[in-house]
């Protein structure tokens, strides 16, 4: 609420601040912990969220043991979790539910979003638009700290009596209203995380609108910036309803209100002592009003990264830049009117049901267009298969599977059979794991040299990529098969006791082994990451012969203030292999003559949109 205050305090120092005060004049705290430099904050976000990703993944590697071997003691480490979680190494159902709920929460709100938006957005956007920093550096720092403490609170919830939240990442009441203390902590944590995202989104929108370099019109923005721009609006307008809902659930839990509790509840034989009169469905509306846009928050920045990497490694302009931009904007709008496709089976009548099915089908079209444009961008390319490119290319079919499996879910009649089965789990993991996570890996391999001034090892990179691709499919494709057979999700026994699941049970082993294999594979990445920090080969300023400002106009790593001189932009973002130039890339800020004749592209597609 004190945000305007923050905004005020924001630029109080700016006017006094000397343009390029060097970092090393500051102590450790100012430089690292309380830095207001977007690059430092971006790296803070990146490292923190990578840690959370690994943690969230570990939760599921643990849960997958129980799914593969229901009721069997987990050797060696099992016992370490204590009698309240895994007595004698055997996992308790309540702990399994905690793992599921926290995995979802951590991956979405503490892993992917902070990495994609907080990490890449913070580090790359100002550089790509030729800005010295974010518009509100102090606010930026505040966002990170809100995120950090939100994360700490979430982790702490594992240690409160009764353990962490265990009502799913969706936290549907009444279950979540009557759940143990962990749920309260979850709500508080969420409020921190939401606040962080809100402050961040304001910062991004203002930065992108106000701080673009001279000549950098909207249709000259790198696609990544567009993706971040739309994402910021989704966060800005979709998160507040969940914040409101979290307040209400908090009231239900601590102040005894009945926002989500109807009259006449009987829990374990006892009538619940509440006023009643609430509506459980209200929560679902408010939750999904956020959570559907949220899923596009998970994918749009990823698509942005993919576009950058593909353009750079095909050495040619993206195919249909404008179509991409319009599609991403269209997705942004539409994502606010499809939320109830998660609620088809709450007793919806035909009319609203038809409405939400239709919007859901419509929103799939822009995604098809984006995928198509990205694939067609490969035509006529001169592809370099370096590690970032490999992850970027793999993203396309993987997202394809994830997206396509969204269609049967979007058709409510088909959803009757598939709702809340592992098919849903398979669907969205294909988009978020081999989809988004791969895109994030691509981004790390791509921008690591810029951020650290050192290259990552290609060998380790490829050792990381191929097994990851294999195992990802090993985990998630079977989910589609199990779901098709009707196996429910969130089953502590992995479906072992169900008649209809018998034929597909054996897949559980495949999936679990793949998950552990995937975990092992990440060692290549972690080693590569830390080894390259120290020992990686020094990187050139424009390591990838790229056209966008972060590469062409700033050294690696960029100094405080980013650019020695304010870059000026003369053309669109992806002027690769321009005819009549022997150098195969023409940076946005290169004033050379060829600029003129590539001004607004000739022929199809229009590579540099007309101004």
């Amino acid at each position: 609420m004190a945000q305007p205050g923050t905004a005020e305090r924001e630029e109080r120092h700016d006017d006094h601040s000397a343009a390029h005060e060097a970092d090393h004049q500051l102590g450790f705290w100012r430089r690292v912990v309380f830095s207001v430099d977007h690059k430092v904050i971006g790296i803070q976000y990146t490292v923190t969220s990578l840690f959370f990703l690994l943690f969230g993944f570990s939760l599921m590697m643990l849960a997958r043991w129980q799914l593969a071997n229901p009721g069997e003691a987990l050797p060696v480490i099992g016992a370490l979790f204590g009698a309240s979680r895994m007595p004698g190494g055997v996992m308790l159902p309540e702990f399994y539910n905690q793992l599921g709920a926290m995995h979802g929460t951590i991956m979405v709100f503490m892993g992917v979003v902070p990495l994609a938006v907080g990490g890449f957005g913070n580090f790359v956007v100002p550089l790509q638009i030729g800005a010295p920093d974010m518009a509100f550096p102090r606010l930026n720092m505040a966002s990170y700290h809100a995120y950090f403490w939100g994360g700490v609170i979430m982790l702490a919830s594992f240690f409160v009596p009764g353990g962490a939240a265990q009502s799913g990442w969706t936290s549907y009441p009444p279950l979540s209203d009557i759940a143990p203390t962990g749920q309260t902590v979850w709500l508080v944590g969420m409020i921190f995380l939401i606040t962080s995202s809100l402050l961040g989104s304001i910062n991004f929108i203002v930065t992108i609108i106000q701080l673009r370099a001279p000549g950098l019109t909207f249709f000259r923005l790198p696609f990544f910036v567009w993706a971040q721009f739309v994402t910021a609006f989704l966060l800005l307008l979709a998160f507040p309803p969940l914040e409101a809902a979290s307040f209400m659930q908090l009231m239900d839990r601590v102040a005894g209100t009945s926002f989500f509790l109807p009259s006449g509840l009987v829990v374990t034989g006892q009538a619940l002592e509440v006023s009643g009169g609430g509506s459980p469905i209200l929560w679902q509306h408010l939750f999904w009003f956020l959570a559907h846009p949220e899923v596009y928050v998970l994918i749009l920045p990823a698509m942005g990264i993919i576009a950058e990497v593909i353009a750079n490694n095909t050495r040619k302009p993206l195919w249909g830049y404008k179509a991409l931009v319009y599609s991403v904007v269209g997705i942004g709008f539409l994502s606010f009117v499809v939320w109830a496709h998660h609620m088809f089976l709450t007793g919806m009548g035909t009319v609203m049901n038809a409405f939400f099915q239709t919007t859901t089908m419509i929103i799939s079209i822009p995604s098809v267009i984006i995928l198509t444009a990205l694939i067609l961008s490969l035509w006529g390319a001169s592809m370099r298969f370096n590690t970032p490119m490999l992850f970027a290319l793999a993203f396309l079919p993987m997202f394809g599977i994830g997206g396509l499996t969204g269609l049967p879910l979007g058709l409510s009649a088909a959803d009757i059979h598939l709702h809340d089965t592992n098919y849903v789990i398979g669907h969205f993991h294909y988009v978020v794991a081999p989809g988004t996570i791969f895109a994030l890996f691509a981004g790390i391999y791509y921008w690591f040299p810029k951020a650290t001034g050192r290259r990552m090892s290609e060998t380790l990179g490829k050792l990381h990529f191929w097994p990851s691709l294999l195992f990802m499919n090993g985990i998630f494709f079977p989910m589609l098969i199990q779901g098709m057979a009707g196996m429910q999700r969130r089953l502590y026994d992995g479906g072992a006791s169900y008649s209809h699941a018998q034929d597909v049970l054996w897949w559980n082993d495949v999936m679990s082994w793949s998950a552990w294999g995937l975990g092992l594979t990440q060692v290549f990445f972690i080693v590569n990451f830390f080894w390259s920090l120290k020992k990686g080969a020094p990187a050139a300023a424009n390591e990838w012969q790229a056209t966008t400002l972060e590469w062409s106009a700033a050294p690696s790593p960029p100094p405080h203030g980013n650019f020695a001189v304010q870059p000026v932009v003369y053309r669109g973002p992806y002027e690769y292999s321009v005819p009549g130039m022997e150098r195969d890339y023409l940076p946005q800020d290169d004033p050379s003559e060829t600029a003129a004749d590539t001004g607004s592209g000739h022929g199809l597609p229009d590579p540099v949109p007309a101004e």
Binding site: I209, G349, M352
Partner: protein, 112 residues
């Protein structure tokens, strides 16, 4: 246009201009007080729910617009901000009416 420009461009500002605005502020202030009395008065008529709600919301809407347009200077605000607000209004209506309309189409509501 109004003093907005002057402010934005930090140019020097002629007081007469401000004074004109101050007069407007006072008028708006009076209008708001009157309308407040009006809403309360209406509520004592105990109209049937429908009209009562409509009327109360209408008055509130008028009051709100007065504050937004004059105190918050929206009438003379930059296009960009009006666009942001237009988008917001769209989403606001979405979150306000979406759940309700969906709920009206419930297969069966118990107790109602």
């Amino acid at each position: 246009m109004s003093e907005q420009h002057a402010v934005d461009h930090g140019a020097h500002h002629d007081h007469a201009d401000v004074d004109r605005h101050v007069r407007v502020y006072v008028l708006v202030f009076v209008a708001l007080l009157v309308l407040t009395v009006v809403t309360v008065a209406i509520s004592y008529l105990d109209l049937p729910t429908g009209p009562a709600v409509a009327l109360a919301l209408f008055v509130a809407l008028v009051k709100g617009s007065l504050v937004a347009c004059f105190f918050m200077h929206l009438i003379s605000e930059k296009k960009l901000i009006l666009w942001v607000l237009a988008l917001t209004v769209f989403m606001f209506l979405g979150v306000l009416l979406g759940p309700w309309i969906t709920d009206l189409d419930q297969v069966k509501l118990f107790g109602t």
